[in-house]
């Protein structure tokens, strides 16, 4: 039996991210947090739905293997 494909989740490129917060209300499980230390995606909560990816104005979010 082939191994299950790895789970895919959103990840943030901190150099590109402008910390505008646009992605937060797009995230159904509220897996994205924005604090003074920057944007963070909670790998445990992210469902990999990709809703945050395309709207990012600077293209700072991408899907990666969990």
């Amino acid at each position: 039996m082939p191994p299950a494909p790895p789970r895919r989740i959103a990840a943030v490129d901190h150099d590109a991210c402008d910390e505008c917060g646009l992605c937060l209300p797009l995230c159904p499980p509220a897996a994205i947090r924005l604090t003074r230390r920057g944007l963070a995606v909670d790998a445990k909560t992210c469902t990999g739905c990709v809703k945050c990816i395309a709207p990012c104005p600077v293209g700072a979010l991408a899907m990666v293997d969990a």
Partner: protein, 390 residues
Amino acid sequence: MLRADVLVVGAGPAGCVAAWEAAAAAPGLDVLLIERDDAVGAPVRCAEGVGSAGLREFLNPDGAPWYSRKITKVIFWAPDDSEVRVGGGDIGYILDRTRFEPALADEAKRVGAEIWTGTEAVGMERLNGGWKVRLHGPRGEQDVLAKLVIGADGVESMVGRWAGLDTRVAARDMESCAQYVISNIAVDPDAIYLHFADRWAPGGYAWVFPKGVGVANVGLGLVALKSDGRSACAYLDAYAARYFPDGEVLGRTVGGVIAGVTVKQAVADAVMLAGDAAHMINPLSGGGIVNAMKAGRLAGRHAAAAIAAGDTSARRLNRYRDDWMALLGEDHIKYYRIKEALGKLDDAFFNRLARTVNAIPVEQRTLGRIFAHALVNHPRLIPVAARLFL
């Protein structure tokens, strides 16, 4: 534990006015306004345009240091770049939000509200009929027990989510925006420009809002679902290269504008949401500053009254949402329907409309007349009239 009667999260236009109104409505009320950023008003994530009438309900702009330009003209650019000028008068202002928000915050301070900058809320839970809110800031980590929390924490709002409210946004209602401050450009410094073209800003529009002579906020908002996969910044790079090739980019910003309707639940027990946090943005124009101030005013007054009455239940606080819906929220539902109708029209329609409107003498050219011409083909556009863009 530190205590407050009203804790306002976020010192933007909604939060500053909410704190101002709550403190003014009830002298002796402990109002604490917290702001995550180190300064109120910065960084600016906004095109900074406001309508004159709405602004004047709060602060008098005459001679004020917190605006950049007075606007007396609106110029539409059609997809084929034809220009439609709309007549003048006291249309609005381009603010300098790095000075405008501090002016609002000063009003809140003047009536007794306390303001902590560099302080963020990182979580909250119910306690003693109010909320225990965890703060991180220059004073370290501490809890504040608030009788009532006003979430004015913007597009990225967490207060609503912590309170169990559904503040999620569908991708089709999210405008992805990018904006440069560009100098060395030749535009009318008394006019705002609105440019509708699918190839430059699909599902939204591009704008030029003057900050001074030869300097402007140049930006655009688009709906990613309608784009070709490029980011808003990539669209703006192409736009600036095409229309302002000799301009010098002085600053860049990006952000999201929720172009939907007011959230169904804007309150929970001892919690109210105001401004962008409650999606109180004109879904046609994307304008939110005056809306946020009006919502903040209602929220502050209702907060003070609820605390005086000893009843901060969601049931009572819903009076705030009812007042908001009557003031502007119901209009936004109409505007949203118009936006959906406009979204079905193609560039060719707007090019034809521009030609028709330009046949009207400029002194007779009002937004109302422009829409009258649009209505010939599209009666669903009827309620727009002059409140469209500011």
